[in-house]
Symmetry: C2
Subunit: 221 residues, 2 copies
């Protein structure tokens, strides 16, 4: 009986804290969408995982689409900001190639993350052709990513650490295409080693962007 009372008390406390309810719903919805895709994600599964009522879900997000947009704008965007944008800003006085290689090497090699794939690509692949509202929100994340990498490379060109013959925006998109492409391959292989080989090759390509240290014309390393 005590445990049942305890459970009821916890549940009431949860419902009295709307911000916490919203956060709990968003995390559970992200997990369900990550597992099965947005279209197949069941609101009942999300509610069952959280103990929240359907009314509360609609109060916070308005609709299933609204919940999906919040997943993109809050969970996926924050994940990418923490993974790419913040480390690039923090190392803005250092060699950007070193910083980019460090970011790639810090990416998850946990089997469950490799098997589930990149949340940004998963949603972009599924929803961008179907829903313009989804697409625009996902596009903002891709653009912020490209802008941050391009700015870092441009800074490296000014510092003399990055080759001057590359176009920063094009090189940034090349990097993003590779990161996402290797994650697609690793997800399909359901094999961490595919991603680990990808990390090595991406780091190798990043190293090829370094400006030559010796006077030009002698030998390009």
């Amino acid at each position: 009986m005590l445990s049942r009372f305890g459970h009821r008390k916890r549940r009431r406390q949860r419902l009295r804290n709307p911000e916490r309810t919203r956060r709990v719903l968003l995390q559970a919805a992200f997990r369900e969408v990550y597992r099965t895709g947005f279209q197949s994600a069941g609101l009942d599964t999300i509610l069952a995982a959280t103990g929240v009522t359907k009314g509360a879900l609609y109060y916070h997000f308005g609709s299933k689409d609204g919940l999906g947009y919040a997943i993109v704008e809050e969970v996926v965007a924050n994940f990418h900001r923490d993974r790419w944008l913040v480390p690039l800003q923090r190392s803005d006085d250092k060699d950007p190639i070193d910083a980019l290689i460090r970011i790639v090497r810090a990416m998850s090699t946990r089997p469950r993350d490799i098997k589930g794939g990149c949340p940004l690509v998963n949603l972009a692949q599924e929803m961008s052709p179907l829903d313009e509202q989804f697409r625009r929100r996902l596009e903002r994340i891709f653009q912020a990513w490209q802008t941050a990498v391009a700015a870092a490379l441009r800074r490296g060109q000014s510092q003399g650490t990055v080759r001057r013959d590359l176009v920063p925006e094009e090189a940034a998109n090349f990097l993003i295409a590779m990161v996402e492409g290797y994650q697609v391959l690793a997800k399909n292989a359901q094999d961490v080693n595919v991603w680990k080989a990808g990390m090595r090759n991406i780091a190798g390509w990043l190293n090829s962007l370094r400006a030559p240290r010796r006077p030009p014309g002698v030998k390009v390393r």
Copy 2:
């Protein structure tokens, strides 16, 4: 009345030709899955598009999963064979870098193909973590692709047209990751120009795999 009779006659003929019925179902199912994903694809939509009965669909494919596996093994695999494997075999006496650049440049730039994305990636992204039967069939396509590109690069190494310091399998996967990664970006941007920039950068990278024509040590082009 004539046109109604004509319609009935055509429908009877269609039902009397099981191979044709199967092909018509498979093409309609591919289009519906390409549009909306496998899980969301409606069997009723496919039947409505073809005028075939549900009984005929189950007769030919056994289940919705069976229909999905047939899409991978027949439609998607054939598409990749025609796009990559056949041209690489046909040009096995020529420079493989030229052949690969030609294949990449021949890839579709039609807006509807860019907006729909790569059928192989679409299905791999959606179904590989959910269904091992799907995953294995998709994996066979990725592996045949990697094997064919790696064999072409290895042949180039023997001919002296491809750099000897690259590992053919790793370079093949790098190419596949880039092709798929750029298609993911172009699909999300819903923008043909993202893919066109990708084609240029992939061709540039392929050119960087050529063996130096002058004696080594002078300058790597």
